[in-house]
């Protein structure tokens, strides 16, 4: 008997430490269980599919943001990059009649270019990326409005529908793209030496510089990666909406940022996993979906989103402080 209870306590202890290490995952599970009880139509295949597709667009861009964040930066212009290139892609196809095979690579180039602009401004002006991308965000969005000329741009080739609306084996294409992008991102970050340099940059920039890392080049490349990945989001979103509007993509960075922070990507850089990021994305997806099912008014949804972001940041800071405490105890030992 005694032995048995000891084993139970042991298992309980292990589960407790495991849960502590995976707080975001535990939260996700809790939300899933909670909502499947509250809303009977939540845990259906159709709803889950919709939920994941809804969030997959932010999920893809979040991978790009994560590269920048692990290196210690941030990109607040993601949504506006999409606004601009979304309109431009619509114009390319509808007004200029460019074939998909030309328009798509071209828009990827443009997206990467927008990232490069962020990166160059960052290293040349030496201003915090928070401010840089806040500025470029307004600029990109503004140009999006200018070239859009208040139109609803339509008339794309039908083959373009597949990217945002198609399915492969019952799974929406954007979801598959998200998974692929996440896997590639994870591979680069964890297996390649480029990935290690990203962590090094965010972990200790000066040490990285002294170890021979070309800091400036890295910074530009990372913003380019972020821009490139968001150009993929652009293509999927335009295909999904199937009309060029300036509203598409606006504020997308908010979900990306919240997901990253929820998933344990640190604001200060040097930390983060794709698994955590995906858990963060799913938490947001579940919350968004549940609020829609419960027909929460739009404005209340905004309030909830803001609160979740702050909770995520507080969680990040709390974890950092706890680590710092352990460190100080070690040093003063």
């Amino acid at each position: 008997m005694n032995n048995q209870s000891e084993v139970l306590i042991n298992i309980g202890g292990r589960i407790a430490t495991l849960m502590k290490k995976n707080v975001p995952f535990v939260i996700l599970m809790f939300l899933l269980i909670l909502f499947s009880f509250i809303a009977p139509n939540f845990m259906t295949f159709g709803n889950i599919r919709t939920l994941v597709r809804q969030i997959s667009f932010a999920g893809i861009s979040a991978v790009g943001l994560m590269f920048v964040m692990i290196s210690g930066g941030i990109d607040l212009s993601i949504g506006s990059q999409i606004v601009f290139s979304n309109v431009l892609l619509a114009i390319m196809m509808a007004d200029w009649n460019l074939p998909l095979t030309v328009a798509i690579p071209l828009i990827m180039l443009v997206g990467t270019g927008l990232g490069a602009i962020n990166g160059f401004l960052y290293i040349k002006l030496k201003i915090a990326p928070l401010i840089i991308t806040l500025g470029t965000s307004a600029i990109f969005k503004g140009f999006g409005y200018i070239i859009n000329k208040s139109r609803n741009i339509m008339g794309f080739p039908d083959s373009f529908r597949w990217f945002g609306q198609g399915y492969v084996g019952g799974i929406p294409v954007p979801v598959i793209v998200m998974v692929v992008v996440a896997l590639i991102g994870s591979f680069i970050l964890t297996k390649t030496y480029f990935g290690r340099k990203v962590f090094a940059l965010g972990g200790n920039e000066e040490a990285a510089r002294l170890a021979g890392v070309n800091i400036d080049r890295m910074k530009v490349i990372l913003f380019m990666i972020c821009g490139f990945i968001s150009s993929i989001t652009t293509i999927l979103l335009l295909s999904r909406v199937f009309a060029g509007q300036t509203i598409t993509g606006q504020g997308l960075e908010f979900d990306c940022l919240t997901a990253a922070l929820l998933g344990g990507v640190s604001f200060k850089g040097g930390e983060g996993t794709i698994f955590g990021l995906m858990v963060g994305i799913l938490i947001i997806g579940v919350l968004n979906n549940a609020m829609q099912l419960a027909s929460f008014p739009d404005f209340s949804q905004t309030v909830v989103k803001g609160a979740v972001l702050l909770i995520a940041v507080a969680f990040d800071v709390y974890q950092k402080n706890r680590k710092m405490k352990v460190f100080i105890e070690k040093v003063t030992d």
């Binding site: 390649t192 480029f194 002294l210 021979g212 070309n214 930390e271 680590k323 070690k330």
Partner: protein, 495 residues
């Protein structure tokens, strides 16, 4: 003696992990005297000031200020009783005016509102005492360093200072500015203020002080009247010890020049020229602020040089960035290992292989087998004590963290290694291990530049020592002529 004791330290002891910073120190300070505190780097001067200022708690002993005895002084009490400290880094707000800085945080007696006019008038009056021309409305960031220091002094005086402690006040000043500061100190002295003056520059001590107290390795040595001593005696008092540690035996250097530095200038250094041989440990001596770390930064490209030449193995090398230096097989073990050497959140092996990632990657994918192999090799070779290679570096002790930094440089197979304070803050056992490793490396034909403030270690380890003073090379000493007194003499700018 009929002088009145204003500050009396009795049996002050302060221990840090592994170090006794102050060991039973007792000193009396008189009213209206300039009392110099002397000692080598790490003798305990800074700890002593911090104890008096209430910045740290002492472990035992009594501090008597104007007859009030304390076991624990808080910054507040220290201020209340008229003690002000001017640290090497000024405590001024650069974007506020002179007057605002002098009367920072002080409420006006006349009005509940802040009045710029009122404090400007008061500040002008305080500054007028010093016969200096500083506009109370000027922004502190627009002032010269010397004027900023005067503002610091004015701030202290405005608070009715009784005891003014100055930590290396002349370090940032030019010769004429030092004169100005001396004048102000004299005026303060006449008003009965006690000035505790900390400086490495012996000639200043002779010019300005009434008495001198010497500290060595945290212990109080003696106090003498300045008029009754001389330079040689003070140096003897500061050094006065035999070599204690044992240093491993060495092979003779190979005789081929590995590194030649010609008229290197920049980063507060001027016209530095020297050479270092293969298999040699070249010590770089100097006081804090002499420019030793700055020289290392120049050689490593961490700060690009304004002019000068670096020659490696007979070929002129263009070193504009750390990457260039690494390509020329130079390794730099920084003094600030946490800030510049390590990725604390990352694992031991991650840190060790970081500089050689390219070498152990195929198609840019890191070969983790090789990573384990290399990291494991250095863990064994230099005895890094860690439960496993995946342990985060943050969890290691200081000595083992230093070994990780060392392993990093070894893995990079550097031929020229710059060690900046390699044994600072690590325990005796780890120190011995580091010494043996350095010896082993030199015997393998590597060139080691060793910067250290620990004279004993420098003399014990080096084949030759170059001495720096205020950004310039003050001299070179061969092993046969190693003499602590002579080196300290060079380092404190005897000419």
């Amino acid at each position: 003696m009929d002088a009145k004791v204003v500050l009396s330290l009795e049996n002050i002891t302060k221990k840090y992990p592994g170090v006794v910073a102050l060991n039973n120190v007792s000193i009396d300070f008189f009213e209206g005297e300039v009392h110099a505190l002397l000692g080598e780097n790490g003798a305990g001067k800074s700890t002593l000031i911090k104890a008096v200022a209430g910045a740290i708690d002492i472990d035992s002993g009594t501090i008597k200020i104007n007859g009030h005895a304390f076991h624990k002084v808080s910054p507040h009490i220290s201020r209340e009783l008229g003690i002000e400290v001017i640290y090497q880094e000024f405590n001024l707000v650069p974007t506020l005016s002179v007057a605002e800085n002098i009367y920072l945080c002080e409420k006006s007696e006349q009005s509940a509102l802040f009045s710029a006019k009122e404090i400007e008038k008061k500040a002008a009056a305080v500054l007028a005492q010093f016969e200096v021309n500083i506009n109370p409305r000027a922004m502190v960031q627009d002032l010269s360093i010397a004027d900023q220091q005067i503002v610091e002094i004015a701030k202290a005086v405005s608070k009715n200072v009784k005891i003014l402690i100055m930590d290396e006040p002349s370090a940032p000043l030019s010769v004429s500015e030092v004169e100005l500061m001396f004048n102000i100190i004299k005026q303060l002295k006449e008003k009965g203020v006690t000035v505790i003056y900390i400086s490495h520059r012996l000639e200043e001590v002779f010019r300005i002080s009434n008495r001198v107290s010497v500290l060595r390795d945290g212990s109080y040595i003696t106090t003498v009247n300045t008029s009754e001593t001389n330079r040689q005696e003070l140096i003897n008092l500061m050094v006065g010890r035999e070599l204690k540690e044992s240093y491993p035996a060495r092979k003779k250097p190979h005789g081929r020049i590995a590194l030649e530095v010609k008229k290197l200038t920049g980063n507060r250094n001027r016209d530095i020229s020297f050479s270092a041989y293969k298999g040699e440990i070249l010590g770089i001596a100097g006081l804090v602020g002499a420019g030793r770390t700055e020289l290392a930064q120049l050689i490593f490209g961490a700060v690009p040089a304004d002019r000068g030449e670096i020659v490696i193995n007979g070929n002129s090398a263009r070193i504009a960035s750390p990457l260039d230096a690494i390509k020329h097989r130079i390794g730099f073990l920084t003094e600030d290992r946490k800030g510049q050497g390590l990725f604390l959140d990352m694992s031991v092996k991650w840190n060790i292989v970081f500089p050689i990632l390219k070498k152990i990657s195929k198609y840019s994918i890191v070969d983790t087998k090789k990573e384990d192999e290399i990291a494991g090799h250095y863990k064994e070779r230099i005895n890094i004590k860690t439960p496993n290679l995946s342990q985060q570096v943050i969890n290691l002790s200081g000595g083992n963290q230093q070994k990780v930094v060392l392993a990093k440089s070894l893995a990079a197979e550097s031929d020229i290694l710059i060690f900046d304070e390699p044994t600072r803050g690590i325990d005796v056992g780890a120190k011995q291990e580091i010494y043996h490793l350095m010896t082993e490396l030199a015997d393998l034909g590597k060139t080691i530049l060793m910067i250290s403030s620990d004279m004993e270690e420098l003399l014990g380890m080096s084949d030759r020592i170059i001495v720096m003073c205020e950004g310039e090379l003050a001299g070179e000493v061969q092993k046969d002529n190693f003499n602590q007194h002579y080196i300290l003499d060079l380092a404190s700018g005897s000419n």
